[in-house]
Amino acid sequence: MTTIPFTEPLGTAGSCAFSVAGTTENAQDIESLAGAAPAGPARIADRVRRSGQVAQVRPADATRPTAQVRVGARPTGLDVRVGGGVGSSPQRPDGRLKVSGEFAFSSDLWADDMLWGATLRSPYPRAKLTGLDLTAAVALPGVYAVLTAQDVPGRRVYGLEHADQPVLAGTEIRYQGEPIAIVAADHPETARRAASLIKADYEVLAPVTDPDAALLPGSDRVHADRPNLLRHVPIRKGDPAATAPVVVTGEYQVGMQDQAFLGPESGLAVPAEDGGVDLYIATQWLHVDQQQVAACLGLPQEKVRLTLAGVGGAFGAREDLSMQVHACLLALRTGRPVKMVYGREESFFGHVHRHPARLRYEHGADRDGRLVYVKASIVLDGGAYASSTGAVVANAATLGIGPYDVPNVVMDAYGLYTNNPPCGAMRGFGAVQACFAYESQMDRLAAAVGLDPVEVRLRNALTTGDRMPTGQLVEGPAPVAELLRLVRERPQAPAGADFPPGGTANTTRGEGVVRGVGYAIGIKNVCFSEGFDDFATARVRLELVGGRPAALVHTAAAEVGQGLVTVQAQIVRTELGVEQVTIAPADTSVGSAGSSSASRQTYMTGGAVRAACLALRARLAARLTALGRAPSTSDNDKKGPFLSAEEWVGALEAGALEETVEWRHRPTHALDPETGQGDAHVQYAFAAHRATVDVDVELGLVKVVEIATAQDVGKAVNPQAVAGQIQGGTAQGLGLALMEEIQVVDGMVRNPSFTDYLLPTIMDMPPMRLDVLELADPHSPYGLRGVGEPPTISSTPAVVAAIRAATGAALTRVPVRPEHIVGA
């Protein structure tokens, strides 16, 4: 747990800044529909309700103190007339349940008479499956079904961008842990035992594991029918032969990070009377799951209905399917509800990871440190299946020189198939790997020209009106320089005020401890890019409940812990002035909301909810006008009226009003396949970090003493949630800098446990100082900018830069280990 100490707001002229203080006194009354935990097995509906998806959120008590927030000019001129609206931090409806352990996660789902599923997985990363004998498994008492690839009735492969991943492996095994067969039994232990009784014969093959080698013409193919090169994104800007007097080069590596959500993959499939299936599932995107599951089951989409179950974290790892098709297959075959829950070890094999990367950079600059050119090659190991590698490659390429104005760019990013674990979406999505490399390069450049690391960044900082390497114009605020100045101007952490590295004050001495400070800034695209038809759907219903207006919001947007449910209610209160707002469970009976990824969901589903509210305001006004009762408080702006209690009754006593809106951001465009030119992105988001570390240079121990960060969020729709995203994202970046790595050798994962895969704990996170800018984006709802990913991106290079400053070690690979510091 990090702390946000009380700090003086550090506003800067011309900007709207606030500092977040660590108070929870802005707590507000929440009346959740959740009751006490029911005795015995709860019905699904109860469980879903208890997941906090259905909650009434009462507005703030105006007499209570709120967080120490200073906002300058409100960029969107909001006139909030009831509490708990946009810009406040009402208590989350799921917060108390989660803290008290009552929240029902997907692994808590239960149906009477349900069976348990289990999965047989390949122990080898590359093999031919030559035989499969199910006899013993089928014969085991308590087993209801044993299914293999032959039993998949529809399309046998699935995938987010390319359908290349088998539901169950046929003859080709392409990664360790690939599912081969699934079992349903009346007890989870019986199901697991039956899976272990399946006799699988393999012809083991040498795996393709080195992405550089996989690119070579003679390499074995991971997929026989296509080359190992999954996607190449070139970017060409300016003169490819540009030269410069100062040249710095570097080769960098990023290890395979895991999203490490705490709630493992799990869900419950319930067969329906119409021959379809209802799936209760923890996911990031219900509709893309629905499309893939329906195709694999050979069912029309309307017969596969999904409802979001309690999600225990996502970070990209729930964007691909895991057990969705498997549970539905077993449920349809047995006619019984089937629950599947992965254990921690299986979870490491059940989802994609962050792409490991090898990045080669050459920066050319003049003697004043102004960049003349950047040449870069980025190789991302996509593992056995495509997942979202294509989009990750595009992000790495288009954002790969960072938030800098560079006239000449030669960038090539490649995504490869190998027999390593499949990689796909993870918070930061291609921008993380590139940022570690380009920020390391900026520090090298600073050293080469004798400039302070912040100064060299300021001299090259991207700003409004500049063009990205793709040719895209940077519109709206791009406060790169301001963010850097904010973290630089934060008072330095006092020396020696903390425990020394290693955490035990009684066992180490201070002589070998050296302080280092490092800076980094990153850039991230928000929402989906490259011409993808990115939209979100929201349905808002207004009716009288007990003589007072009440709003019901229905979307398919996944609350994955980020606070989206809270934000939706805030938007309704601001736009309609209705205090009582209920958020219905997310499911596929309403249109798609798109994914809870790409930092997009407040922008997109928030935008859709807002648009539905605006449509309702127009209809309210029309009704009142038709009744001859002109709205009393019309303020002649586009948001329409807020109504008196009497007017609400008048407007709604004729019946409920409902609006469903499909909302889109402005269109994006494909990248030119030769030059990488094109307006591919919707919005850019920026964050900067300053990390302060103490390094015991003899023993290689690192203590991150403090992290200061500054981020432009456009509009802090929920300041407390913004602070939470910044702190959590920073922690995930610190983890990549210092300890998080899935060790893969010869295609085999060696540390699939939380004992051996190290995550930062409460002991490892330092106090954080936050500056949050609110510079409105004219194109987005409330001017907001996606918040979730930027903090993860620049925190890693800032921590590593600080260690370099303390040690002088080159540190070209993350995570940094003690041996890299002691140089032994």
């Binding site: 019986t190 272990s196 180490t508 023993l699 051996d756 190290l758 002991m763 002691v822």
Partner: protein, 342 residues
């Protein structure tokens, strides 16, 4: 992953459970049944059962046995009942004042939750974190004698450089046992035939040709107590642990040290290493090199080099040799700077 395809029974793994209230019954019950095993805190045992690393068993819960006391003996020794919990020992003033290195090793050795459950006796029988030992697809001589050692050429960053053989390089995981090794603790064992006492250095076995044998206990042997002889200089002792994460992580290198400096020279020293060896590693070469020599950086470094002279690095763990030297030197300098024994 589905596990247990190899080497495990294909029937339902039934595990029976019973409780016993006295030592004699416990020993009789377990001795009579070759499939039986003692269950104390369960923090290792349950893990091992879950990953099929141990065969089907009858678990005999010994938590009611009256062997959980922490007692100061008339001769100044401290006797830790085998069922004393790690946390109770760490927090005991008897231990914390006389053997701070042990209290520190215990606190650094596990999370509070584990310390509250795990017993001292069980800690002596903790199994290695070697990932190949816990992976049924991998060759491992400790798990399946004669199957080979995958770690020799695999992921061996965490593995041992001292006391290894060509059959096993798994690092011993315990912190507490390292401190106890420096303290010349004695492990008391009871069985049907009577009582045995093992010097701690004889209790932990290097792998040599039989890595599956980690200690001399026979089936039915019950650890009843750990006795620590008096050692006045240990009142200013130290446990220094170097690891990848500040909390809840096994040692890359650890040093347990008690040191008495008199007139600028080392008058008395006990040192043991963790994280770098296949057993809690008493640093006798270093002790020998230090004794009677000036307490200076040069001599500390010389002693550290002596201790690691025969270390065998593997593909990924060579850094541990240098890190062990530096950690030894740091520990020696830290205790020297404090002024040695009061």
């Amino acid at each position: 992953m589905e596990r247990g395809e190899k080497g495990t029974t294909q029937n339902m793994r039934s595990i029976s459970y019973s409780r016993v209230a006295d030592v004699a019954t416990a020993i009789a019950t377990v001795t009579a049944d070759p499939d039986a095993a003692y269950l104390a805190g369960g923090t290792t045992k349950v893990d091992m059962l879950r990953i099929y690393a141990e065969p089907s068993q009858r678990l005999v819960d010994i938590n009611d046995l009256p062997i959980n006391h922490i007692e100061l003996q008339p001769d100044g020794a401290v006797r830790l009942g085998a069922l004393a919990r790690m946390n109770d020992v760490a927090m005991s003033p008897i231990v914390a004042q006389r053997y701070p290195l042990l209290a520190e090793a215990l606190v650094l050795g596990a999370s509070a939750q584990l310390r509250n459950m795990a017993s001292m006796g069980g800690n002596m029988l903790q199994r290695t974190r070697c990932s190949y030992f816990r992976d049924h697809e991998a060759a491992c001589n400790k798990r399946v004698p004669g199957s080979g050692c995958s770690a020799l050429t695999g992921v061996n960053r965490g593995h041992a450089v001292l006391g290894t053989s060509e059959h096993c390089i798994a690092a011993h995981p315990s912190d507490a046992a390292v401190a106890l090794s420096a303290l010349d603790a004695v492990i008391h064992v009871q069985n049907r035939d009577g009582h045995h006492a093992y010097a701690i250095d004889d209790f932990f076995l290097a792998p040599e040709d039989t890595p599956e044998r980690e200690h001399p206990l026979q089936h039915g042997d019950l650890i009843t107590a750990i006795e620590i002889p008096p050692l006045p200089m240990a009142r200013d002792s130290l446990y220094l642990k170097v690891r990848d994460r500040e909390s809840y992580e096994f040692a890359l290198v650890s040093v347990a040290l008690a040191l008495r400096v008199e007139g600028g020279a080392v008058a008395e020293v006990r040192m043991a290493l963790g994280g770098v060896a296949t057993k809690p590693w008493r640093a006798r070469r270093a002790e020998h090199a230090l004794l009677g020599r000036p307490a200076t950086h040069e001599h500390f470094l010389h002693a550290a080099r002596e201790e690691t002279a025969d270390a065998v690095p593997r593909s990924m763990n060579g850094f541990k040799i240098e890190l062990a030297r530096r950690t030894m030197v740091r520990a020696l300098e830290t205790v020297t700077a404090r002024g040695g024994t009061p």
